[in-house]
Symmetry: C2
Subunit: 451 residues, 2 copies
Amino acid sequence: MISKELASFIYRTNFSSLPPEVIEYAKLCILDWLGSALAGSDKLPGKILSQLVTKLGGTPQATVLTDGSKNSCLHAALVNGAISHTVELDDVHKGSIFHPAAPIIPAALAAAEMKGAGGKELLTAVVIGYDVGIRIGEAVTPSHYYYWHTTATCGTFGAAAAVGKIVGLTEEQLVHALGNAGTQAAGLWEFIEDGAMTKHLHPGKAAMNGLLAALLAERNFTGAARIIEGRRGFCRATASEYDLEKITDRLGKHYKITETSFKIHASCRHTHQTVDIVLDLMRKYGLSFEEIAKVRVRAYQIALNITDNADPETPYAAKFSTQFCVALAARYGRVGLEEFSEDNLRDPQLREFLSRVEFVTDPDLDSAYPAKWPGRVEIILKDGRKFTGYTDFPKGDPENPVSREELIEKFRQLAGAFLTPSRLEKVITDVLQLEYISDVRKITSGLGSND
Amino acid sequence: MISKELASFIYRTNFSSLPPEVIEYAKLCILDWLGSALAGSDKLPGKILSQLVTKLGGTPQATVLTDGSKNSCLHAALVNGAISHTVELDDVHKGSIFHPAAPIIPAALAAAEMKGAGGKELLTAVVIGYDVGIRIGEAVTPSHYYYWHTTATCGTFGAAAAVGKIVGLTEEQLVHALGNAGTQAAGLWEFIEDGAMTKHLHPGKAAMNGLLAALLAERNFTGAARIIEGRRGFCRATASEYDLEKITDRLGKHYKITETSFKIHASCRHTHQTVDIVLDLMRKYGLSFEEIAKVRVRAYQIALNITDNADPETPYAAKFSTQFCVALAARYGRVGLEEFSEDNLRDPQLREFLSRVEFVTDPDLDSAYPAKWPGRVEIILKDGRKFTGYTDFPKGDPENPVSREELIEKFRQLAGAFLTPSRLEKVITDVLQLEYISDVRKITSGLGSND
């Protein structure tokens, strides 16, 4: 029984059993998540959700990061989950095609605030939540992913597991929490067809539903014991092929959180390997935007399915356009949040450049995916010179890591507009020393209120 | 675009456009729902949810029927949805294998209370919610039903449609409401394997999620426009076969609510045709429990899949045992809530009787299902006499209707323990004259508080 094995893992995993590198990784994940959440906190989806939960009201249990107000843990998880994913800079796990931070950390944090839990408990819960969500995601990927947004569906399991640890569920209650989570798991990819705000609702609802599942289990509300592998359960209902062994393989020995990738560029992950190579070639050879005649980009097929768009009509669509990201990288030497502006979208030189980007599938790269997320780029200058680059992994992957300092700098860029300079540095210090924080509310108090 | 057609239907349907028989049917559905909800209000699933939402807190917008308290409309819908389905006496629509009242009416009522809406608006919203939920259910039945609990999934669409009418969404907003509802639709049948409380969570979450979808759309939170028929939408993701024409066939001309069946017996609907025949034969020929040697029950295959259980171990499981229901009908002349007691479950005479019930599939009955839900019973006495009966439809189906008076009597039995005699009669009068109620809070105020 898989839920029972997962429950046993969740129950017996404690802060003292986590290796130091896992704890370090979890702290970076939390800092990285918080930057994304704050950067998304003044965008429309979060604003709408924030207005709604203010009207619905609730016991002040946890912090809503759009305005620093307190609301029920469910409402805080809903809003904070939604804003985490809005600027597309939250972390991602390749093997499960899953953004773990967005649904899991807001749920764990809301529960931790409600309980007045400390940093060690939050770190342990986040490690556990990532493990459970990612493992179930790996089991059902890729067939599940065609219809179902893994961040929403598997995020629900991860959130329930994390909260189950925070609130101290028994093994039996943890089985119920997973059962009640799995039966709430939802989130269809259909939103991509019209770029609907639903995408941001997904991690918010996953956080909220997973939290609800665990809070019900805490009160002995029973759920299906075989929700994952049962004949009318999650895997059979949502994946034409799945591999249950991935869920329990090296469980408790290898922690999946260390496989998580961080995003440095503010665009879809499938554009990153290309952007990395372009940035690298531009710098290495001192190239300028104006002298480029053509850019030949090769990628795996999925990258083309999702990011081949030579005529993006909105800043949001531009994040899913490899052509536009190449143009930004060549022109500005960075592909951050600010570059996806309306001004840039309508800039004649940038738009003209889009037609210079040739974007095709490469069979070799395609066969390497998804074990690798490789890319190949050739830049051809007007004077005929050619420069080529290749990478197996975009930067931020564990195989091509960013440094702690780069992630801190990313946090400063994302969160800088929402915190005073002293508060900004204090938050960085607190999160990177999270195991010494006795009550997580010391960090969250006032966060998001534009102090 | 199906969501657009549904949105147009929802937008243009008003109380004045509803035929009198549709309004009459809707009033009976609301009365019948309220009886089921009150009867479930003191059971464990509702109690747990009620404790939880009390702790979570919320703006006093709507009535929680477990204790008469006020909470946010989302929380009221969650609890009231869950308790509606607990005693298994809520209504059912055959063609979609869907319990429409449980997810739809609590959502509509919570929104109506929040807005201070009148009876005409509530009736219109309920008719619309039933139509939308049932039609989508019919489109995906039966393939969807194997994994997915239609009451949960299609209930979410129905709840969003009903609330969308109450809060006065535009056609464009209604499309978003359906998009945001469909992407939250969830609920797996796996709970049936262990009889988990999840079953009751499903309509509660459907009511809450549908309400959330509509309240987000009211604030212009956008959802997928083709959530129903899109290539990564609801039908393709959750049904191996589906028929989209069923969603729009005679839309706005024929109202699906009039196809709803009412349940008179407190057991699974698939036992009802059998129970009806047994009760009828017992009465007609003055038979007694003691003189019966054998009961031969014939049914369609699905009835056996779900209700063939000659050894039920809990009162809940007994409701899904045709054998046990036959024993109760033969012994007590009724199969109401009280009959499913622990005492009866352990009664030696009743348990001995279970082995006298032969329960088999009949190919003729099976081929008639689900257009009909037919049954055939032969009672053989110890003296060798035989009595046979047949029905095409269980009592309470539109084709074999119960009377208004029988439904009022059912309400009295279900709600009697939760209301004073004068309040009980007042509620009946108010609901059956709902179009004259200017503010639905006049009915709900204090309901469930055991006044």
